[in-house]
Amino acid sequence: MERNNILSQINKIFIDTLDDEGVVIEETTTATDVEEWDSLTHIMLVVAIEKHFKIRFSSKEIQSWNNVGEMINSVSAKIVD
């Protein structure tokens, strides 16, 4: 799956989970850029992304991402096309 495709799917998950139609994310987006993205909603995002792509992140991964791009790295490494 293309990175852009993953990004747009993750963007949709952000919108649903954070209940905010206006959220636009890019590879460089970090938690400080999105108002509702805190340590608690992070967990909701993790679980929602896991469900959507039918994958499981390791606990290390959950804590390691510095931006959305790194999140996409983890996703694309796990999904089977």
């Binding site: 989970t17 340590s39 992140f57 606990s59």
Partner: protein, 575 residues
């Protein structure tokens, strides 16, 4: 269908201002933010505005043992204590192996200590989450034979908790262990999330834990299911009695009869625990009754059924008739029917009634119904086991009443006696239970638990009365409770007046007022004050005090006892 966590979270933005507020404190040894959000969100769907104070993470002991803490300042009505199995395991891992044998006992005494501090210093009900099972697999199956193993100690602790709570009327266990049994540990607990956040409940299981908790809170608030209405063909037995005949319906060993036998055993257990069973079936009455009378494999018999309606009329109309005989709210009734068409008709006509979407395959009925957890309760007394008989007698009385043209003649003919007593320990469970269950004939709807009742009966500021009512058809048992609060030497305030709706229209309210006015006069009181607090359900007593001759002032009703003339009734005091 249960909402998921994100849907529950969306409820938080809604308007809670018209909902009933309940103050709830949550104390946990793991992170409880999501649980708090789930509870408040699900509370919205149950018309409760949960005002939640959440202790900081891992602050249970500090909050409970410091009497100036935020917990005590908050004055919650309900306290939830959630100590997780993972922290329990962590503690077990740290103690010396020679102390493992005593691990559960030591833990229980800590819990007892928390409980007694809370109940001595707060006027609150306490909900304690039991322990979900973790098998650390150090002993394998042998853990079951080894008292010092973690699994042995955890199960022992759960058992000891049940024993402890059975002796403490103010302590309620919320059985989250049974949720893990239902969904499996892999769904209940997500290790990666636990390791990064200290949260032990997975996002997926949160709505289930919230639902189990809200069920308890609802029943503490008097929202209970009291009656099951059964369809017969393909619900109570397999097949259609009118077409297949008594020898061919599936029950017992015939066909898939096992599913229906087990279903009937479940209904019978509900009946024994005090749930009223009624039948509503599209059938000819004599044909529908035949299996109950003659089929050797039927578990349910006619004496288990309080009201039997088998006609060819619309089921919604029949259910309305059942409701008028039983005199309980539609929202306390559950209707079980295999036919989606009938279910929809009933739902459309009587939206308050609970109509579970029974699975198509009868083999799945029971597991589905278990998971719904419809019959939550916060009390159980001997009275419950007698309830079916009481309602059958009531149906008899209704028949006799139809023969009398004059109500006075009917009442005289009933030969009624009432036993009047102050509260005593023997009656405490029944009084508390009536306090939880009475919705209609309840002037102020202040709910009292067994602990409250004990406190009131030991206080010099309160005067208490219980009334029974028996007549020639049978004994209704304890059906009315009065609590009078001494405002001063001259004035009495009627703090509580509730009555079972089984005894409406018997002159009981006149008899009760005569009794308490006589008492007031003999003890030098001059004035009685009463108050009506409206709820969704107690409209029938809106004019109660006016009808009894009280005068209305701004906020309450008052009666001068000096000029009181005894009000008419045909009830005699039982000597």
């Amino acid at each position: 269908m249960l909402k998921n966590f994100i849907q529950l979270k969306k409820n938080l933005k809604k308007d809670f201002s018209n909902l009933k507020p309940i103050k709830l404190a949550i104390l946990g040894d793991t992170a409880t933010q999501f649980l708090t959000q789930s509870l408040r969100g699900l509370g919205y769907d149950n018309s409760i505005n949960l005002d939640i104070w959440e202790a900081d993470f891992n602050q249970i002991e500090r909050q409970v043992f410091d009497f100036s803490s935020e917990l005590y300042q908050f004055k919650p009505e309900i306290v939830i204590i959630f100590k997780s199995s993972h922290k329990l395991l962590g503690k077990y891992n740290k103690v010396k192996p020679e102390q493992h044998l005593l691990f559960a006992s030591n833990e229980l005494s800590e819990i007892e200590n928390i409980y007694s501090n809370l109940s001595n210093n707060l006027d609150a009900k306490i909900i304690y989450y039991n322990y979900t099972e973790i098998d650390d697999s150090v002993f394998g199956n042998y853990a079951n034979k080894t008292e010092s193993s973690f699994l042995f100690q955890l199960r022992k602790l759960n058992y000891e908790l049940m024993c402890f709570s059975s002796k403490k009327p103010n302590l309620y266990l919320c059985d989250i262990s049974s949720i893990q049994n239902e969904v499996g540990k892999l769904v209940f607990f997500q290790p990666s999330i636990y390791v990064s956040t200290e949260m032990v409940l997975s996002i997926d299981v949160l709505p289930k834990v919230a639902s189990k908790t809200i069920a308890l809170i609802n029943s503490l608030d008097g929202k209970l299911k009291k009656c099951v209405i059964l369809d017969l063909d393909n619900t109570t037995w397999g097949g259609i009695i009118g077409d297949d005949g008594i020898e061919n319906i599936q029950i017992g060993s015939l066909g898939i009869g096992k599913a229906f036998s087990e279903f009937q055993y479940w209904i019978k257990k509900l009946k024994n625990r005090g749930i009223i069973i009624a039948v509503c079936s599209k059938n000819t009455e004599s044909v529908a009754k035949e299996p109950f009378q003659k089929h050797p494999d039927m578990i349910l018999r006619l004496e288990d059924i309080s009201v039997f309606k088998a006609t060819w009329d619309n089921k919604a109309d029949n259910i309305r008739q059942i409701q008028s005989i039983l005199n309980i709210g539609f929202d306390s009734m559950v209707f079980l029917d295999d036919n989606p068409f009938e279910r929809n008709i009933v739902r459309e006509n009587i939206p308050e009634i609970c109509v579970p979407e029974l699975p198509e395959d009868p083999a799945n009925y029971l597991e589905y119904l278990y998971a719904l957890n419809l019959f939550e309760t916060v009390s159980f007394s001997n009275e419950d086991t007698e309830r079916t008989k009481l309602y059958q007698i009531e149906a008899e009385r209704t028949k006799v009443f139809q023969k009398f043209t004059n109500e006075d003649d009917f009442l005289k003919n009933l030969e009624m006696f009432s036993d009047i007593q102050p509260f005593n320990r023997f009656d405490t469970p029944r009084i508390a239970q009536l306090s939880q269950r009475s919705n209609q004939f309840n002037l102020r709807t202040v709910r009292y638990t067994e602990v409250d009742i004990d406190r009131i009966s030991n206080s010099k500021d309160f005067l208490t009365f219980t009334f029974t009512l028996e007549d020639k058809f049978g004994d209704n048992g304890l059906i009315c409770v009065i609590i009078l609060h001494k405002i001063n030497e001259k004035k009495l305030f009627i703090d509580t007046w509730f009555m079972s709706c089984r005894v409406l229209k018997r002159g009981m309210e006149n008899f009760v007022l005569n009794t308490i006015v006589h008492f007031a006069k003999e003890n030098g009181f001059t004035t009685m004050k009463g108050e009506y607090i409206p709820t969704m359900k107690n409209d029938i007593v809106k004019d109660h005090y006016l009808n009894l001759g009280f005068e209305k002032s701004e906020t309450c009703f008052s009666l001068e006892v000096q000029n009181y003339k005894d009000r008419k009734n045909y009830i005699k005091i039982k000597k």
